[in-house]
């Protein structure tokens, strides 16, 4: 018994000691974001570490000389490069491919100025999935970093305290006497971001669904989520044509969970929600022309949402709207809210006649420039791909090139828009103005002759002012709380607008959909939770957070690329989006002191020596066992 107790005690001490030893050896990073691997039908993109984690000696690279030193004189490789944004360019990263580099850590000192531009997307986003080949440089700062297969892992930190620790260790151990680095212990990083998938979407999906194994390992998942739709009136037989008002719901970035998409996406979502709410307030009567609002998901990944919508419309499978099925032929025009903001507004029109009343109204009211025959790389491309005669109009804050310097990057946040809910900016009023102008123009189409009442204008401005912080500052805001179930605790952070994989829910999509349902639905204050759910209505917290019953006409539809639902689809054909995301086990990074090569070899040598020595001793003892142990037995 006593023996058992001792053993338990010993084990407990041993476990505790092991924990402490581990903590003494490693400094774990928190609040990092990792670059991960994605595939399309033909290639792989992004980063992966080695299976057990990639290790390298820390080296800050601040200028050209540091790179040259790495290329010519470095002796203690492999290295982990620590970079700032101004060095985080395609040219520099490509040079690291040829040096002994095992990983790149990008950091941003939040107390310093942000870089003037950083966009990891293509100069022509969705270059290969538009309705024509893209030769324009829409995104002048686009570096295409997202569209590379990097041979090393990449991480991002912006926590100044963590960065100080890294820098401190680096300055103490690595910097001095650089030529003799390989003779001493050095500060090193270990990055773990091993990606299971490889090659391309086709092979990783096929491998994951192999039917020889009972439980095949999953290697990758199709990227996709849900679209959100709201028709102003129900679809009936009388509807001759439909005007679609669309915006994209997602953005992109290299790093997991850091997809703010403020200027590229949020402003359009907010404007679309405001326009829809405004039309709902105006109580537009729908006779032969209906208006459908759609927020499309996965648009940055080769138009997943819009291509699926168009596919469903074409196949006659689109039944997300109440009433009749909407057909592609019914859609007369598509109006897209592109990147929006303060300042000049541009109208990119295609197939729209100059005297089109909607176009002229928008042009005059918004004092906008009209660019005829112009189609930016946005969702309308999917409609034009199917029907090149469809009227499309893109309302955006840019002409031939984006004014957003951070398109689809992690810096595309509230700060980039110069927005903060605490200070007065023109952003809410600019967006509200677009929403109201567009709403009025649409109202005059459905209700010709009648003038919309002006009493709702201040309500819409207030709505926009309340909507912006929900997406730009924290999801824990009044409107999102009102559109959730009572008692829901929302994350106190900016929601990531990354589309994510089909099989997991996306908070931004669900909250936006619920909110559109609340803003454009009918509330029944007299119904309690039970009777509400019996009628299949939505039970939400409501503005006073006590619970309210809403009959929503807004609805979701699947935004999974047709490539994954068409049987035997040729993934290399390039017709539909084939993006998949790799599966991973963990993403993490830690720092430790790596002994010099000589010490490592010495440790190994001693280990082997001790093993051999003990083997020899045992062998000798065994051979002489009779002589050694015999006498004892005889005693």
């Amino acid at each position: 018994m006593r023996c058992l107790l001792f053993m338990l005690l010993f084990a407990a001490i041993g476990f505790g000691a092991a924990q402490k030893l581990r903590d003494m050896m490693y400094y774990d990073f928190h609040g990092t974001a990792a670059c991960f691997r994605r595939h399309n039908g033909t290639h792989q993109f992004g980063c992966s570490s080695s299976r057990s984690g990639s290790v390298g000696v820390i080296q800050f690279v601040e200028n050209e000389d540091d790179i040259v030193w790495l290329e010519k004189n470095a002796t203690a490789g492999p290295y982990m490069i620590v970079l700032t944004f101004d060095m985080f360019t395609m040219k520099t990263l490509k040079r690291f491919e040829d040096v002994d580099v095992n990983g790149v850590l990008l950091y941003r000192n939040t107390s310093l100025d942000r870089p003037t531009s950083y966009s990891p997307d293509d100069s022509c986003p969705n270059r290969y999935s538009g309705y024509t080949t893209c030769n324009e440089s829409w995104n002048p700062h686009g570096s295409s970093l997202l569209l590379q297969d990097w041979p090393f892992p990449m991480f991002y930190i912006e926590d100044n305290e963590v960065l100080e620790n890294v820098k401190d260790c680096y300055l103490r151990m690595n910097v001095h006497d650089r030529e003799k680095q390989n003779e001493r212990s050095l500060c090193a990083l270990e990055m773990k971001s091993f990606m299971f998938a490889a090659l391309n979407s086709e092979s990783c999906l096929k491998r994951g669904s192999s039917n020889i194994l009972y439980h095949p390992t999953l290697f990758c998942d199709p990227i996709g989520d849900q679209n959100i739709h709201w028709p102003v009136g129900p679809m009936s037989d009388d509807i001759k044509n439909v005007i679609m008002v669309i915006a994209k719901l997602d953005s992109n970035s290299m790093y997991d969970n850091l997809v703010p998409g403020a200027g590229s996406t949020v402003t359009a979502i907010v404007t679309l929600l405001a326009t829809a709410t405004y039309l709902h307030m105006l109580n537009a009567t729908i006779s032969d022309t209906n208006i459908v609002f759609s927020l499309l998901n996965g648009e940055t990944m080769d138009y997943i949402g819009s291509s699926r919508l168009v596919y469903d419309l074409k196949e006659g499978n689109f039944d997300a709207l109440k009433g009749k099925t909407l057909k592609l032929e019914q859609i007369s025009s598509v109006i897209e809210l592109g990147q929006l903001g303060e300042g000049k507004i541009y109208l990119h029109s295609k197939n729209v006649k100059d005297d089109n009343p909607l176009l002229t109204t928008l042009k005059n009211e918004l004092k906008a420039d009209v660019l005829n025959n112009s189609v930016p790389p946005v969702s309308v491309q999917s409609f034009l791909k199917e029907n090149s005669a469809i009227e499309t109009l893109v309302i955006a804050n840019h002409g031939e090139t984006f004014v957003n310097n951070y398109y689809n990057g992690l810096l595309d946040d509230a700060e980039a828009l110069d927005y903060s809910s605490n200070k007065t900016t023109n952003l809410p009023s600019s967006l509200a103005n677009i929403a109201i102008t567009l709403g009025n123009a649409l109202y005059s189409i459905t209700n010709p002759g009648s003038k919309p009442s002006t009493e709702n204008i201040t309500l819409i401005e207030k709505l926009v002012t309340e909507l912006l912080p929900c997406y730009l500052e924290s999801a824990r805001c009044t409107l999102f709380s009102a559109a959730s179930r009572p008692g829901t605790i929302l994350p106190n952070q900016v929601l990531s607008l990354y589309t994510g994989v089909v099989r997991s829910d996306n908070a931004a999509t669900i909250l936006t959909g619920q909110l559109l349902g609340l803003l454009t639905g009918t509330t029944y204050p007299e119904l309690n939770q039970t009777s509400c759910l019996e009628k299949h209505f939505l039970w939400m917290a409501g503005y006073n957070l006590t619970g309210v019953c809403v009959e929503a006409t807004a609805n979701f539809s699947q935004a999974k690329s047709p490539a994954f639902i068409i049987e035997n689809y040729d993934m290399k054909s390039g017709k539909y989006s084939t993006w998949t995301e790799s599966v991973w086990e963990n993403l993490g990074m830690r720092m430790f002191l790596k002994p010099s090569y000589k010490v490592e070899v010495l440790s190994l040598g001693i280990g082997i020596g001790v093993s051999l020595f003990t083997a020899f001793i045992v062998w000798r003892i065994k051979a002489n066992a009779d002589r050694i142990f015999h006498s004892v037995v005889n005693l």
Partner: protein
Amino acid sequence: MDLTKLPNERKLYLCKWYFYAGFALLPFLWAVNAIWFFKQAFIVPAYEEQKLIKKYVIFSGIGAILSASLYISWIVVFQTQRTHWGEFADSITYLYPAGSP
């Protein structure tokens, strides 16, 4: 089992049995047979059954070497060519490597 303690006809019986069993796609049995009976076939003083045992040991050895070289060549070819064969290689793979093509 200590072969030296077995009667000679029993040794022959075992050796023969192992040799034939090897044809059931069990080349490892041939290898075992060849090594296990090597002493009995070539080193110990001659006895009546030794001639047959010798024959079985030699053929078992040849079989073992042939199948091993086939096996090793297949492994080498498959491991080096798997990525080039693309879809066909995937269709004959049982466990896919994670994170590499």
